[in-house]
């Protein structure tokens, strides 16, 4: 009942948010063939002519940690392709915008689409299986903010926070990249507030200074400060096996807020690397599954909502 109301409200809102041709009632995502580049912009006119599918979401509670109750009831999906790339537009209602992971108790809103790597296979719905790997395209609000406003750090999360210094002050550079002079262990040059250690972007750290940021020092993708895309491509062969395939891969994406909704575009080449999902052959018939996280509700990892009907058929219109 709850889901039904949710869907009705969603349809109503959606008709204001994006003029749509028609609701597709065959429970299949019909990817519309277009000419020209697939759009990265969620507000592109190209989306107007694509049919949408409302996908019901349910809580992941098969494997702990999970969710006792769902936190996002449905996602509206559209798709277009141009024979070279495919793009998806995903929209869902989330009244709270959660776009930081720079605070220990804050989690980011996010969405992911999962595809079998090999067309025609049906991997286990729970993140694939060893014989049938899956590829996941994962967009996160926190990464979008990193792209839009620069890598979010302590200073961004806590504008009024201060901290005396960080290690290796002798080599410390100020916020403008100039070395801070040290004489007899004392800071010789008075340091203006904007030049304080806490304000120095870690992008300007030397390798030795980065050594004090363990995740960054071992190249954990989570700590990546030079993202140019708000999406990651990942592979999995079952629960707990999620592995980052590429941070700067072939997939791309862009997310925006619109009247309490997230509107996210994900793009992917029809044929990428060998570990990428392929959308070639099989008479244009493929599959996908969707997961959505609401950061405000502590959603992360397996604490997510997923498309509760299992795999969703995806058909690339010729």
């Amino acid at each position: 009942m709850k889901i039904f109301v949710g869907i009705a409200a969603m349809c109503l809102m959606a008709s204001f948010a994006t003029p749509s041709l028609a609701h597709d009632d065959t429970a299949e995502i019909k990817s519309k063939a277009i000419t020209g580049e697939v759009p990265l912009d969620p507000n592109s006119d190209v989306w107007n002519d694509a049919k949408y599918l409302i996908v019901g979401m349910g809580p992941q509670n098969l494997v702990a940690p999970g969710l006792a109750k769902g936190t996002v009831s449905s996602v509206k999906v559209k798709s277009v392709h141009n024979g070279k790339d495919i793009a998806f537009l995903l929209e869902w209602y989330d009244p709270t915008e959660d776009d930081t992971e720079t605070m220990m108790n804050k989690f980011s809103d996010a969405v992911a689409m999962m595809f079998p790597v090999k067309p025609g296979t049906e991997p286990t719905y729970m993140m694939g299986d060893p014989d049938n790997p899956v590829e996941i395209i994962y967009w996160k609000a926190a990464w979008q903010k990193d792209i839009d406003k620069g890598y979010q750090d302590v200073r961004d999360a806590y504008p009024n926070y201060n901290y005396d210094t960080y290690p290796m002050l002798n080599n410390m550079i100020d916020a403008r990249g100039n070395p801070i002079e040290v004489k007899d262990g004392e800071i010789y040059k008075p340091v203006a507030p904007e030049d304080r250690a806490i304000n120095t972007p870690i992008g300007k750290y030397t390798d030795a200074q980065k050594g004090y940021l363990p995740g960054l020092a071992v190249n954990n993708p989570r700590s990546r400060i030079d993202r140019t895309k708000p999406v990651e491509e990942l592979n999995a062969i079952g629960f707990g096996t999620l592995t980052t395939e590429a941070v700067e891969g072939h997939a791309n994406g862009k997310g925006i807020r619109s009247f309490g909704y997230w509107k996210i575009v994900l793009t992917h080449p029809l044929k990428g690397e060998v570990q990428d999902a392929s959308f070639i052959g099989n008479n244009g018939h493929f599959m996908t599954a969707i997961a959505v996280w609401d950061g405000d509700k502590g959603n992360r990892g397996g604490r997510k909502n997923f498309s509760n009907g299992g795999w969703i058929p995806l058909w690339l219109e010729p």
């Binding site: 108790n105 999360a157 940021l213 363990p214 995740g215 992360r300």
Partner: protein, 380 residues
């Protein structure tokens, strides 16, 4: 769920993984009668390991004033509250651990603290006695008679770690060689399930790198046979580290850890009822309320206090206690040397590491220093 043996609870318990005890377990001992809350240990750890950006509010080692000091705020009373009142029957724990009776969607019972809970380490430290419940004081609840003590805390490198059990990525592992529990910095995806699950709140999130971190037991030192930074820098000499036998059938009476834990039973685990089989051991403060201590250290408290009061007559125990803070090298065996009235520590090859007199020599200083002609007295 597997069934594993938790000797601290005197029973088997449920755990998400099969039991797999390390070959030997590095353990840390704290004599709470001696800690002066100078926080030298805290700073030794902080300056060695967590001085980077994103670790501003992180203290792998902290010292809190009990009963009302906490870091993070209310960490122990919150998890005690979540577990509810639980019974011991003699030395067998009849209650539920954090791994038992969990909700379907959880692996471990726990809570994720608020970011502000880390911002004022030891907030509440001054709230000790009734007269302080006036305007402006933080704690409005019940107060206690005039006692208090300092509780230094680091990760317990648990035998059944809550952090490890909760991590869906299997990014946390326990080393076979020494039982040290580590978070793989390249594998963690920052879900903070460990932060939520660790009942001691000793897994932390790094705001800058967006992955979780925890005490590494100073493993580069441990691997060299030396004790950790927070041990060797302890001003009060309240700490010592040693390898404890993990096979209870092979206890060595001349090993400091085995002796203190299994022979004299003077050193007790912190909140054993959580079920993680923590590997830090505390000698309880002898003047503190017994009910409070029993809640914190389990049913062995009375014996531990009796042993401590008797240490002056028990030369073997005295020897073990006197080695605290007197050497940087990890002791393999120890003994009381009757001839010289000294505690002696040996390494694994049987080589002597240190000798410490059990009785400090007494020097009596004359009031008049004949050499300088000065009177050395404060009774002017």
């Amino acid at each position: 769920m597997a069934t594993v043996r938790n000797w601290q609870l005197g029973r088997d318990m449920e755990y998400p993984y099969e039991g797999n005890r390390p070959k030997r377990q590095i353990t840390m001992f704290f004599d709470l009668n001696k800690c002066i809350a100078c926080q030298t240990c805290t700073m030794a750890c902080k300056t060695t390991w967590t001085s980077g950006k994103g670790q501003e509010a992180v203290f792998w080692n902290n010292v809190e004033s009990k009963p009302y000091g906490f870091y993070p705020l209310a960490w122990d009373v919150k998890i005690l509250d979540i577990l509810g009142s639980q019974p011991w029957s003699g030395s067998t724990y009849k209650g539920k651990t954090i791994f038992e009776d969990t909700a379907m969607e959880e692996k471990v019972r726990g809570f994720l603290p608020d970011e502000l809970d880390y911002m004022s380490p030891n907030l509440g430290e001054d709230e000790a006695i009734g007269i302080q419940t006036t305007e402006g004081d933080y704690i409005k609840g019940p107060t206690h008679k005039n006692w208090g003590f300092y509780l230094p805390r680091i990760c317990n490198h648990c035998t059944y770690p809550g952090c490890l059990a909760a991590c869906p990525r299997k990014a946390i592992y326990k080393r076979q060689d020494d039982g040290i529990v580590l978070i793989d910095q390249s594998k963690c995806r920052g879900y903070r399930e460990c932060v939520k699950a660790c009942p001691y709140k000793k897994a932390f999130y790094n705001n800058t790198t967006r992955v979780s971190e925890k005490c590494i037991s100073c493993y580069p030192k441990i691997e060299k046979g030396e004790m950790s930074q927070c041990v060797t820098n302890c001003i009060g000499r309240i700490r010592i580290q040693a390898y404890k036998s993990t096979d209870l059938a092979k206890i060595r009476k001349n090993n400091v850890a085995d002796f203190l834990v299994h022979v004299r039973k003077i050193a007790l685990p912190l909140y054993p009822q959580f079920g993680t089989e923590p590997n830090n051991y505390y000698i309880p403060p002898i003047h503190v309320d017994l009910a409070y201590l029993t809640q914190m250290f389990g049913p062995g408290v009375e014996n531990a206090i009796k042993q401590y009061r008797n240490a002056g007559n028990d030369k073997e125990l005295l020897s073990a206690l006197i080695l605290f803070g007197n050497t940087e090298k990890i002791s393999d065996t120890f003994k009381y040397d009757e001839k010289t009235d000294e505690a002696v520590s040996y390494d694994a090859e049987g080589k002597e590491i240190v000798r410490v007199p059990c009785t400090e020599p007494i020097y009596i200083r004359k009031v008049l220093n004949a050499k300088s002609g000065a009177f050395l007295t404060n009774n002017s």
